[in-house]
Amino acid sequence: MKIKDHNELFQEQEYIDQFERKKEFENCPTAEEVQRIAEWTRTAEYRELNFKRQNIKINPAKACQPLGAVFCASGFEGTLPFVQGAQGCVAYFRSHLSRHFKEPMTAVSTSMTEDAAVFGGLNNMLEGLENAYTLYHPKMLAVCTTCMAEVIGDDLNAYIRTAREKGVIPQELPVPFAHTPSFVGSNITGYDNMMKGILTAVTAGRKGEPNGKINIIPGFDTYTGNYREMKRLLDIMEVKHTILADVSDIYDSPNSGEYKLYPGGTPLADAADSINALATIALQKYSTSKTMDYIGKEWSQSAVALPPIGIKNTDRFFEELSKITGKPVPQEIENERGRAVDAMIDSHPYVHGKRFALVGDPDLLLGLISFLLEMGGIPVHVVCTNGDKKFLEDAEAILSESPFGREGKVYTGKDMWHLRSLMFTEPVDFLIGNSYAKFLWRDTGIPLIRLGFPLFDRHHLHRYPIIGYQGALNLVGLIVNTVLDEMDRKTMNTTSFDVIR
């Protein structure tokens, strides 16, 4: 039976006629007027007006602090993210993460309402802790806040102490916390704050004998494939390690016909022992800065950020890792490097000289700029809604190191509506961004390569690593095959429709 759903149904003439008839009631502008304004929005004049805007964001590429915090918290064994504040926020975090990973995400809210706004959220927290602990049996409850709790000034430390005194949760249950106001920073700040909060709590009084391990903090990394890749590489190199906030099994758990509330995560004993590691390596810089500062100062541990996206970045990662651990980089990894480089050489003619616009979180952007430069690609517009001054300097420094980076301009605090103006007035060949960047593709016709977060409209992309040499290989594949798909689309009716590329 032929069944037409929305994809086909509304292309039918009777619906097209219906839409025309409906206009009678819409009081909508004429088609000519719409066309005139549409064309105006593509001009330099509009771009100038657009860039003057100071007080409103239009299609920003960032999320809020507590999203990063619950994401971080979920990566620890038996840990239930617990959010003090209004309940809608938690419904949104869960939906958002589930839509990206296509996995269940658990977190609870203290469901604060008007009375809590007046009297404070202590009672909500007490009952919330008791209910959550009794119903969901967590090994750790990691507390963060929504803007409501922050505005009214809820004191998490005091509330949790009261909860213990009143016996609503056991004395020994770890309940780390982080204040995560959504009107400060972004998802990456929330990740950082929660990580610092958790590490502070679980390592308290645990300083002891060095364990010879390396701590890895992936940062706000939404590629489950990256976590598995990092573990694989460290195993090959025989480096004992602890991934701090290992979300790989949380957001990519096997289907065994069983629903597990806590399907994995960093073992709490390992997290507690992380204070005794040889060193801590962060795979992102901007989503871990406070945590790394804390580790360097409070743990007196070597704490270094070594983001491994692209060949040179991965080289640096292994060089440093080798120095820290005293272990050589095994031939197997060297071979992986060789294969990735070989692939990049094979594909270079299709990427060389291609101009790119990029939008995303700061750490991902730094890695991708570096990778594109290695391929001879030209980053032209780099938009980072949640990038700060330091990011701007870092990004500009990377661009300035390569002749392919000369055209690159970095825009922090800007959004995808700014990028739209940039893409119309200074067109590029390809766009790199998350699923919401597809609206830019529709408006400008510039094809989108999906990298970042969230990825809602393509399946499983987050399961393939983009870090390390294997990740570089995946990036080449993703980028070059988008270039080739586009080339085919454009040459379909010409003799250039080649079968060998």
């Binding site: 805007r53 009794t134 629903y259």
Partner: protein
């Protein structure tokens, strides 16, 4: 009391045992065994009450109800998420309220526009920047017909006067600027957000639109958000019935349509929960009758066509009969195609404020039985409309928690579950066929004669996918 009711009650008691005392006492009021007759006093659930903290409610907030549900779909209004960045980010084009227009030029539905509060806004207030923001938007989007200021939590807590800012801008721009006090901490769920949004439509838009002429057959389609094109499929039928749909609320709606619904002869209400308020207002203020209808599945569609036609003259009544006669063979063919694979399958539903009852008939048309159903944010009037639709002893759930949904699933072993994105993947892990019944799992439409075949196909692919059979369970 019947055995079926007693058995369900016993099961509910067992499920409740895991709760601490206070929460248990509260949750007990929200779970019941169904009594279709409404005679059994313990079979009525309490609803529209605060969720217990820490239990993992599925509910959202007032902002979600006002921005996500009611105002978000109005296409030529710029809907501003006023406050920090998150709320607008997470509700960005997630409800699939389809619309026609050029986004960013004359329509704004798939855009995320926010004042992106920073700490200074909390300390010094966001009013001044809001005024500047409205001006910036006016400059960039000259074809916008209105702006809506959808308040997030901090706005109400710091005492910003968004009404004053709106009033000033409204005069300056000569278009409606709608301040919506839908801070997420207000009320107990999305539901209050619907109500607040309805009130702002009443206060700022209704009665101000242009309609050149009226006919005796003018109706407004209310409470259809055009998810996957639902309202379009419904509109097609209403037009075929001989009616003139002067306003579509709020799926694919324009501000003008929002301003002329009071000129309808009858308001036709699909989602009663989210828009009954404004219908009651129009009834009191303008004397417009309103009627609920249900366009899910042929049985309910036939009943609804006749019910709608009963408000009009014989020519419309005749058209209703002709339409039923015309479409029945196609509907029967759909049933013939899919019923064999779905007959006897048991369904558990947990959705928002309408579908837990409205889709029951469509499942029954396909030979399926809804054995448990519940609302995130229903009120007692929703439950009263639900009890007669379900069998004796079926489970009725209000504001169910993740724990309860999991427990009821284990005990009832439904053949499929229809709920939301937060529930979806835990059911995939359990190996229980699952369909999102908020977003139609990116399919649709499900309304009307064009929607039922899609509904039937989707339920069939859900229940009968070979992928479920690949799961290897531990022995």
């Amino acid at each position: 009391m019947s055995t079926a009711i007693k058995e369900t009650q016993k099961m509910i008691e067992e499920v409740l045992d895991a709760y601490p005392e206070k929460a248990k006492k509260d949750r007990a009021k929200h779970l019941a065994a169904n009594d279709p007759t409404g005679q059994c006093s313990t079979c009525q659930v309490k609803s529209n009450i605060k969720s217990r903290p820490g239990v993992m409610t599925v509910r959202g907030c007032a902002y979600a109800g006002a921005k996500g549900v009611v105002w978000g779909p109005v296409k030529d209004q710029i809907t501003i998420s006023h406050g920090p960045v998150g709320c607008g980010q997470y509700s960005w084009w997630s409800r699939r309220n389809y619309y026609n227009g050029q986004t960013g030029i004359d329509t704004f539905g798939t855009m995320h526009i926010t004042t992106d509060f920073q700490e200074k806004d909390i300390v010094y207030g966001g009013d001044k920047n809001l005024d500047a923001a409205l001006h910036e938007l006016k400059g960039l989007f000259p074809l916008a017909k209105s702006m809506g200021i959808l308040s997030e939590c901090p706005v109400g807590l710091i005492g910003d006067d968004i009404e004053a800012v709106s009033k000033k801008a409204e005069k300056e721009f000569a278009m409606p600027i709608v301040p919506v006090r839908c801070e997420g901490f207000r009320g107990v769920s999305q539901s209050l957000g619907h109500h607040i949004a309805n009130d702002t439509i009443r206060d700022h838009i209704l009665g101000k639109g242009l309609l050149e002429k009226s006919t005796p057959y003018d109706v407004a389609l209310i409470g259809d958000y055009n998810i996957g094109g639902d309202a379009w499929a419904s509109r097609k039928m209403l037009e075929e019935l001989g009616l003139r749909v002067i306003a579509q609320w709020t799926g694919d709606a324009s501000i003008n349509e929002m301003g002329i619904a009071h000129k309808a002869k009858v308001n036709l209400v699909h989602c009663y929960r989210s828009m009954n308020y404004i219908c009651r207002h129009m009834e009191e203020q303008y004397g417009i009758p309103w009627t609920e209808f249900n366009f899910f599945g042929p049985t309910k569609i036939y009943q609804s066509l006749r019910k709608i036609a009963s408000y009009f003259d014989d020519s419309i009544k005749e058209k209703a009969e002709k339409m039923i006669e015309k479409y029945k063979p196609a509907m029967d063919a759909v049933i013939e195609e899919f019923k064999p694979g779905l007959e006897g399958k048991r369904v558990m539903l947990y959705v928002g404020g309408l579908r837990p009852r409205h889709t029951i008939g469509a499942y029954e048309d396909l030979g399926m039985e809804v054995v448990a159903s519940g609302y995130e944010f229903g009120h007692s009037d929703d439950y009263k409309r639900t009890y007669p639709e379900m069998k004796e002893g079926a489970v009725i759930m209000d504001d169910a928690t993740l724990y309860e949904l999991e427990e009821f699933t284990r005990r009832l072993s439904p053949d499929m579950v229809g709920s939301g994105i937060k529930e979806k993947y835990s059911y995939h892990k359990l190996g229980v066929p699952f369909r999102q019944m908020h977003s139609w799992d990116y399919s649709g439409p499900y309304h009307g004669f064009d929607g039922f075949p899609v509904f039937a196909r989707d339920m069939d692919m859900t229940v009968n996918s070979p992928t479920w059979g690949l799961i290897r369970r531990k022995k």
